[in-house]
Every structure is written in structure tokens, then in C-alpha cells.
Assembly symmetry: D2
Homo-oligomer: 357 residues x 4
């Protein structure tokens, strides 16, 4: 049985490069030879043991590659095509998919923590930080890369761009809205770009790292606030003449960013939450207007599926959104443990790394 | 200056019937002679001092009456017409109104607790538990009662029906949805009727008072759960084959009902919150799916304005919704203090009282 | 090769019962043994040659049956299960499906008349007026029938109910709306039931056949207009105090019903068109408000897929909608030519026929 | 009685500058001293007698000016403020306004051609091509101009920008959509800018005037098609790989642009119609997919009201949209007849003219 290299979760604190068999595919699957992938903040949660996955699982959920082999029932694609697949791989045929909740794909029940059934790569099945990847339900999930786009140009599509844009989309941003984005890591910066794309007339970014504030400006933020030097709530109220924001996007997953999102909102406004939380959240009575504020709070997992990927790559192709500046470091797959070391510790101004087998 | 009787907030624990001048009206106002009104759970919050209003304020926000006098700039109505006005009286011309947040009417800013600016009667201006009522922005707020409808038939329109239905509307209920309503007081029962009106195929009501469970069934609940004898979450999961509810409507304003609403939801589902809360809320990590569940949480204040009232009265007129069974007791305005005593203590199976001057 | 009986399109004017091989299934398919089916108005268009299909094609697209055999890649179902499939069978994995247009499934292009790619049964592949049916993309399309429901109770789900309800859904009916339905055949009657389900407070049905007007009343119409004896536009304007309808549903496919729908609309209202047209339509300048009326016109093909079917059957199971009264006649498959003769000529008050092999 | 100069409709073919009394205002009105205004294509329809208005009416509906006097019941504004008002002036308090159809404001009935009741200036009341303008329902319609914006920067907000953007908004454009705009006059160019603002990834503009194609590119069009040299339908199908457009915006008001919009649409797509038509429209059977295409057709009148104007000016202020290049010529009010002569005959590459009293 042919072997390949793969980054594998061993135990909390350890992800290692190991040899594993190249995946065997079923009739609905495809086998992809990975050409570029990257590490996500969620992978760091996995590394730290904060988000539990099975020992021995290959991690990673942002694949760019070439179709090596197609399952016997798969039509519409050809071997050798350059493709991406979303971080989330909806089947297309589940009840969840058919009622528009593809990211919540899976058996139609929810026992305890079992949401997010559409997130399979590096969560419930082997992921893409490896030489090869099995893509389930390939017909719903493979999306051909336009010829003139490089791997790095589309590397943010499977997760960062899809998630960040969804923060703007689920916030239902309208032309002329004032939008605040709390936390300007890769997801938050992508949310800034998404808010800009959807017609927000005023975008305010909040973070404490000057480089991030600078990138936020380049992606569409009209104002940036360093929360170490200024109180963001006061600043936002000042910038909006006391009116507050129409939409606040939370892009980190903490009580502080969540609560601040609610506090800067105008009555009738929307908090769009993108972060992965690791503890209970509190909705303070006054911030929540005692239930009388006509507020909307939405949480969103990354939208997937081939049509989503096609649209995001179109957006890249037409120059509407360019997130290449997020790729700050490049590694060979052989060196992925160093990449994790750099990324998990946020050294050297790292935003995203490109990993090539 | 002519005098009238009015129920007035004196101090926490005391609402008394007093003599006050009949209101003077401005050019955009109308003076209404009240023929029927009622007491709301919110009035009890005011009575208890949990929701602060100015001493001396006339309470009450559910008016049925007759136009006594129109302001000099008011057109489109005639003195002597039978009318209602919503509990919430949007101006029609504020920025909040013009962007669709009429219940959040008022100066476009939010300082601390200052949401719900559209709620004026018995909150920021004198209310309708009196012989006469000044209605601000009369052209946006007066709605003529169809001749063949009695006062009691339309008495639930200004608040109970508008709020309860909005729970269903903001939950965005679709044909075939499974909907749970937690707490079956007047608002929750009206939410059951609203869920039925919007096409939910399975409606589950939760409360502990048998009479309320019975009324819930008559208004459209397919299943009712007495939470004293059955665990509602387990029961709902059983009734839905483990799938969970598409929409859960919270109609009380407590941690328990809010949290249960979240826990019975399918991934991708919606909590529609109607209650007035009196303390911080907690979003447990697992119930919130760590932010990965594609959940939507909406809070809604009662929609107002004359078009809303016209539509609700049409719904009554065509027999689509009949909430008369909620009126369990009747009092003269002179006896309103007894009415409060009964209602605040939930004696004698009271649901709603009709008060007639 | 085993044989079966099937109703086959021979040439314009002739559909005949013939012997054909039982379908062979691929890995994603299922073979269904039909237990009940019916004839649709669209089948009559096919019979008359107005809607062209290939000679030799088995017609029919409303199947109720039992799973005989599952394709090798199909999971989640078992042989022997009672199921229905929608008239429209989206794949689940096409770009059209993944952007929410499942009924327009198929290669993502449109050449001339090639819309409606999701309609396959009796259109582009063999249909269900036969002893056996091949269902493509079975995992997206089979939906288990609840045990306590009979074949006839769910017989309207695959097309009539799904299409009729979609007229209400795409019209975006809101609580309190006034809705008119033009033409009260099976689809129009189902649209009346759908409008009622979505909370319309006033429903007006228009037709000329007294029996249909009577059924319309029983399904939720508040007013019915016989267009042979009354001018529907004048009547509707009278019934609405000159305001017009919020939504008008066209359920026949003629210039007259389409144009009348537009003429009874309030400014800002919606025409929801369900009919299959056979000639160009005209939008009269005045009826269209010269383009200044903020009108919305939507056309809708029947929504399909297993989640849609599950929801419709839930609606039947809870007693929210009961269209059994539409089944006026019953035939054996052996007698289907007589059934066509009766149905195509609209003899004997026929609404829908039940066909059992 | 003080006099002013005003451009007045005399008879078909003649608009003349005359002396008229300065308007007298009522309690809800404001008197505006006009500082800049412009001529609209609709004014040319009026000039030619194609759209009938009363003889003696002052024309024009795009006002920029200074508050001269406020009605006795008006609050929230001060005399001397620089303001604009939308071309459409919803009252805020009508049933139409309160159900979200502000542009269709007015008595809730529709007799023949009486849509567009919210369009009052230069239609049913005196307009703004004059030294002074009476603004009805001033509290709903006056919007203060940010200090740093010039008259010409906001001159497109009352109509061109609001209408053009609404073409994109009502088309419900999503991130990644392909959008076509047919006809690139001021409205169509503004629709291009609106499509860009809402996240369309591919925008295709169609016209025959090279200067307009050039401006379209500068406002966000990725491709432009000169319909004199290329067949737009073929070109669009080629550019979209046969997929068709998600949204097609019609911005002229002719059979050809309307029909082409429908023909380039993907199944499930939307035609957003902005033009003012002067004859019946035809929906060809094949282009309309015989009613099976899940198409949406929306017509939209310009949205008005002070919140809309505030948002548009915010969009200008943040540099998101800059339509100043549309102002190609400038005239004194005294010379308005020459301005009409130039504009009506589309001489000298005119797009929009600025008129200053």
C-alpha cells in the first residue's frame, strides 16, 4: 500500500509529520494530490487539545491540489484538474443541506456538542496537511481553479475568505451601513474585505497589533482603533455621532469581543459572530437592552460546497478581493512542525503560512 | 382645566387611581376617549419597580377608544371614529422608522439602557389606563376599528397579538417548521397562534399551568409539555426524532426559558426572544455550539403603527386568530387597583383583564 | 430482461400503455415499485404535443411507492421502505442546487428553452406512470412516508402541494396580507391552502366552476368570485376598499389570469406565477405602472428534494393541509388510457385521479 | 406676495422660466432655497408630453438647498441648514410607508395609472427647478448635508444614485454574482456603481456610446459591450461560459433592453427593471421559460426619505461612490431653457447638468 507524509494529531501539544497510507476512495469520493495548504487558528485549538479530535487523525482543512483519482460514481470532473475544496464539505443530499444549512450537514440530530457536521476535514475524517486527501461527496465539493490563478491566490478561499465574508453576509450588510469588526486576524481582515464588498459606507476595525490595523485599512477599513490606547466603545460612539453600528462582526471568540460587539450596536442592529468560543458567554442585561432592543445575533460556520468556492474564486479573479498579503511565511510540508511552532506562538508577525508538499 | 381619572405610578409597589388634567394635544396628536384597556405583564414590572418610570406617570399601553379631538395638522381621521393605537407608537419620520426599526424610534443614539424608544405610552409619556389618552404622531398610529368588531375583539391587538405574532415572524417560520414556545402566558399563547398562522407543521407548547396548556392546544399547539412532570428538552428531542426544533420562541424573560430555547434548537435554527429580562443571560458553550452552530438569536419589541394594527384587526375580522379567551376578568377603571392586585398575583386563573372607564 | 407496464408517449394525441423493460439502476439511483400515482395537467400538455418529449418516454412525475432496490453507492435508506419522491429531482450537488435553485438543476447553462433542468421524470427520463421507476440521485430525493399516512394522503405532495404552496411562499405572504388566487384547479386550490397556511387574512379565489369555488372555501378562501357572473377586478377592488391585493397568484398559464393578477395588485405588490404558458405574455403599460409600481413578478417551478417532501408530509400528518378531496376518481394502471380520456377532457367533475398498478 | 423664478410646464414641447409666488408652507412643510438642482430624463418625458403633468406645474425633483423656513409643527431641523430631499417624498405615516412601500405613498388605493404616489415634486406638486421649493412632510424628508461635501457631490443622491443603487438592491445582488446592466445613461451607470458596491464579481455594461462604456469601466464594469458592434446576448453567454447572468438590470425602459435582460438570465435569476416605459411590454415565451424558470422580475421607483439620503451621502463621504463625473455641463437657472434644449437632444456628450439659481 502506497504511503504518504501527513501531519497527524498525536496528543495535546503534539502534531507530528508521519507516514500513512494514501487514502482509499469510495464511489462518491475523489483523491486529491495536495499542492498547497495552510494552517488555521482552529488547528491550533486542536494542537492545544482545546478542540478534541481522534489521535492519529490527519489535520488541516484548506486544500489546493490536483485531482489524482475519481470515485466510480463521480462525473463532471477529470483527473489532472486543478481544484480546491471548501473547509466544510456538505454532502448536498442531507436534509440539512437541502434546507440550506450545508455547514450543519450530517445525520439530522444533535446530541450535545454535535453541531458543525459539515466540517469533516481534520475534524471527523483525515485532513489536508498531507500529500494526498480524500474528498467526500466530490461532485458537491470540488471546484476547478481558473487557469490564470496561482495556488496562493486561491489558498484563502476554502476557509478564511468564506468565513470572513460570511460574517458580512449573515450580518445582512446594506449599502450605507456602519460596520465594526472586532479582532483583525485573518478572519477579521477577511470580514473587513467582505463588509467593503457588500457596500458598508463606514468600516471600523479594532485590534491592538499595528500591522493588522494597517492591513485592515488597505482592505477597506475607514477607521481603525487600537484598543490598547483607546476605548473602542467610546470611539465608535464618537465616530457614529452616538448612533452606534448597524452591524458588529466578532472575529475572535472571547467574552470581550462578543460583549463589545453588542455594546456598540444601534437598537435593531446585528452582531455577527465568527469566533470559536472556549467558554460560556454572558449577555449583560443593559447591553442586551433587557430583550427590548430588536437585536439579532448570528453565529456562522464557514460556508462550503463547490458553488461557494466558484464564487469566491471569481471574486479573486476579478480583483475584487485580494488576500495574498495575509500569506506571510512559506514552508515545505517536511517542515510543518516548525510552521506550527511559529504559527501557534504568533511569532515574527505571522498571519498565514503556505505549506507545499 | 377639565379633569379625568388615571392609574398613576406612585412608587414601587403602588399604582393608584388619581385625578389628573385631561391631556392637552399638539398639532400632530390626537386625544382619545378610552373605552377599553387592559393591564400588561410589563405594567406589573413597573408596579414592582423593576422597570423604572417617572412618579406620577399614567401607566398602560393598550388603548381602545374614540377620537375626541384631532391636532391641527392631523388629516385622514375624523372625531368620533372608533380606533386603536399600538402599544408602540413610531413617529413614522425618524431615521429609525425609515430604516425599518419603528419600535426603536427616537433620537438616533443609544446611551446605556435607552433602547425601545418607540415605546412611549406608560413609559416616557402618559399611558391609557385613564379616561383620556394623548396619542403622539396620530397619523402614523391611529387605526380605525372595523364596525363589526367589539372592543374586546381588538383589545389584544395593540400589544399581546402584535408581540406574540412578532415572535413567529422574527423567527422566520416556514411551512413545515417545528416550533417550540416556552411559557404560555398571554404573549406565549399569542406566539402559538402566530406560529400556527405562519404554517408551522408541529407546534409544541411548554408551561406548568394546565389551563394554559389547554388554551395552547386550542390555539394550535400539537403537543404540550408540563415542565413540572416532564423534562421539556428530552420530550422535544423525542417528539422530533432527535432533530430538534427549527424555531424556539422564548416568551417569559428568564435564563431557564432562554437557555432551553437554545438547547432544543437544530443546528441552523433560530431562538426568537420576546421576554423582558431582569438579569444578565448566559449562553452555555455547548448550547451555543461553541459558535459553530449557525444559530440565530433575535429579540423583538412589539411592532406598532397603524398599518400593523390594521393587519392584526383584519386577522381578527376574518376569524384567523381569536384571542378573546384570554380575557378572563373585567373591571371598571374605578376598580383598577383591585385589578392590579388580582393580576400581579396571578390569582383566580387570570390571563388578561378588560378595564372599562 | 424483466418487463413492466408503462404509460408511454407515442405521438401528439396518443399516450398508450405498453410493455417496457424494468429500469436498470446506477450506483446513485433507486428502483421504486409504484403503488400509487396520478396524472397532472402538464401530462395533458405532453399528450397534446404542446410540451414536447421524446417518443417512447414513460410519462408521469408524481410517484408513491416502495423501494425495490438501491444503487450501490446509496446509503440511508432500506429496501422495502415506503417513499415518495418529488416531481422535481434535484441532484443536490450541481451548482444550481448549491445556490438554491434546485428545480433548475443541471448543466449550468441555458440554451433556448432549457430551463427546468430539475424536472426529469416524464420529461427527460422515464416517469412514474408505470410499475417501476428509476429515481436518480436517490439520497437527495427519496423521502420516507410516515407509517400512519396512506398513499392517497401523500399523493399530492410530489407536485400539487409543493407547487401550490410555492406560489404562496414565493409570493412572500405575510400575516395580514390580502391574497387573490386566479384559477382554482388542483394547483390553485393548493395555493389557496398555502396562502391560508402562511397567514393571509383575506383570501379571494377566482374561477367559473361552482364545485371549485366550494372547495376553495373549504380550503381557506374568504371570498370566491365566479368570473362568468362578476368582473373579478372590480369585485376585488370593492372587497379591498380600493386598496388592491398584496399578492396575486396565477395558477393557470394564460394572458388573462396573468394580466388580471397584475391589475388587482396594490403598488408594491407581488404576482406569483405558477402556470405553464403556451404563448408570449403581455405586460400592459398601465397594469405595469409604466415600471414605476415597485411590483415583483415571480415564476416558480415545483420545489423538490427529500427535505421538501418531508416537510409537506409533516404538514399533512399534523392535519394542517388536507387535499384528499382533490382525488375524485380512481383507476387501475391498466385503465390509464381511460383516465387520460376523462382527465384531458375534464369530464365528470374530475380534479385528480389516483392510479394504482 | 414675494415672487421667484421657476421652470414651468406649459404644454407638450414647452417648459419655460416664469415668475411664480414663493410657495406658502403648512405646519408639516419646509421651504427650501434651492442652491443646485438638475434635469432628469423623466423631466424630458414631461417636456415631450409623454408623461402628463398639470400645466403651470414647476418641474424638477432633485433638490439641493438651504432651509429658509420650517412649518410650525416641524422639529429636529434649523433654518439655515444645508439639506437635500429625495426625489420621492414619502410621508412616513401612510399605510404604504408603514408597510415598507414609501415610494408608493398616498391614499391606499390604485385607480388606473395611480401608482408612484410618493413621487410628488414636479409631478403632483411644484418641483425644484426654481428658486424656492416647498418640501412636504419635512421631518421625514430633509437630510442635512455633511459640511465637507459640496452641492455637486450630493446632487446625484436625490434620484440618480438612489434609483441606480436600488436596481442593484432590489436585484438582491450577492457576493460573487454576475450582473449585466443594459443602457448606461446616468441611471445605468449608477446601477453599475451599485452592483460593484454590493459585491458582484463580474459586471457587464451594455450601451452604444463609447464615452458611456468608458465611464462604466471606471465605475466598476469588468466588461463592456457595444451593442452596435457585438450581439450582447451572445457576448454575455460567452463571457459567462453559457451560464448566464444572476441579475440583469434594465435601465432605459424599452422592449429591447427589457427582453435582453430576460434572455441573458440564468434560470432562477432576476431582472431588475428601472426604466420608465412608454408602451406595453412583451414577455416572449422562450425567454420567460414558459413560466418554469424560477425567474424574478422587479420594477423599482426611486427610494426616498431622509434615512435613504443620509446613507447615500455617507457613501459619497467615505469615497465609496463618486458620480461627479456625470455632471458634464453647468447652467444658471436663468438659462434652464437652453439646458433643456441640450439635455433633451443629448447634445455635446451631456450626461447630467448642474443648475444653479
Amino acid at each position: 500500500m502506497a504511503k504518504m507524509k501527513a501531519a497527524v494529531f498525536i496528543e495535546p501539544g503534539r502534531i507530528m509529520l508521519e507516514e500513512k497510507p494514501i487514502p482509499v476512495i469510495g464511489p462518491l469520493d475523489a483523491l486529491i494530490r495536495i499542492t498547497t495548504t495552510t494552517i488555521c487558528g482552529t488547528d491550533v485549538h486542536i494542537l492545544k487539545g482545546e478542540y478534541p479530535v481522534a489521535r492519529g487523525l490527519t489535520v488541516g482543512h484548506e486544500p489546493v491540489g490536483i485531482i489524482e483519482k475519481l470515485g466510480s460514481a463521480v462525473t463532471g470532473f477529470t483527473e489532472g484538474q486543478r481544484v480546491i475544496a471548501g473547509a466544510i464539505t456538505p454532502s448536498g443530499y442531507s436534509n440539512a443541506c437541502l434546507c440550506g444549512s450545508g455547514a450543519q450537514d450530517g445525520p439530522d440530530s444533535k446530541h450535545g456538542f454535535k453541531v458543525a457536521g459539515g466540517w469533516k476535514f481534520g475534524n471527523t475524517i483525515d485532513g489536508c496537511q498531507a500529500e494526498y486527501l480524500r474528498v467526500p461527496d466530490a461532485m458537491a465539493n470540488l471546484s476547478a481553479i481558473p487557469d490564470h490563478l496561482t495556488d496562493e491566490q486561491v489558498l484563502m478561499c476554502p476557509d478564511i475568505m468564506s468565513t470572513g465574508f460570511s460574517g458580512a453576509e449573515r450580518g445582512n450588510i446594506k449599502i450605507g451601513d456602519t460596520v465594526v469588526v472586532f479582532a483583525l486576524g485573518p478572519i477579521g481582515l477577511s470580514a473587513v474585505a467582505g463588509a467593503r464588498l457588500m457596500g458598508a459606507s463606514t468600516i471600523i476595525g479594532v485590534d491592538a497589533i499595528p500591522e493588522r490595523l494597517t492591513i485592515a485599512r488597505s482592505l477597506g477599513a475607514d477607521h481603525v482603533i487600537n484598543f490598547k490606547t483607546h476605548d473602542p466603545i467610546q470611539e465608535i460612539m464618537r465616530l457614529t455621532d452616538g448612533r452606534g453600528a448597524d452591524v458588529a462582526i466578532e472575529a475572535l471568540g472571547t467574552q470581550q469581543t462578543f460583549e463589545s460587539s453588542l455594546r456598540v450596536l444601534r437598537p435593531g442592529g446585528t452582531v455577527s459572530s465568527l469566533g470559536v468560543y472556549s467558554s460560556d458567554l454572558r449577555l449583560p442585561l443593559d447591553a442586551f437592552g433587557a430583550g427590548l432592543g430588536d437585536f439579532t445575533i448570528v453565529s456562522t460556520l464557514c460556508p462550503g460546497g463547490k458553488e461557494r468556492m466558484r464564487r469566491l474564486m471569481d471574486t479573486v479573479a476579478s480583483g475584487r478581493a485580494d488576500l495574498r498579503s495575509l500569506v506571510t511565511h512559506r514552508f515545505k510540508l517536511d517542515d510543518i512542525e516548525q510552521a506550527y511552532e511559529l504559527f501557534a506562538n504568533q511569532r515574527d508577525g505571522v498571519m498565514k503560512v503556505a505549506i507545499t508538499p
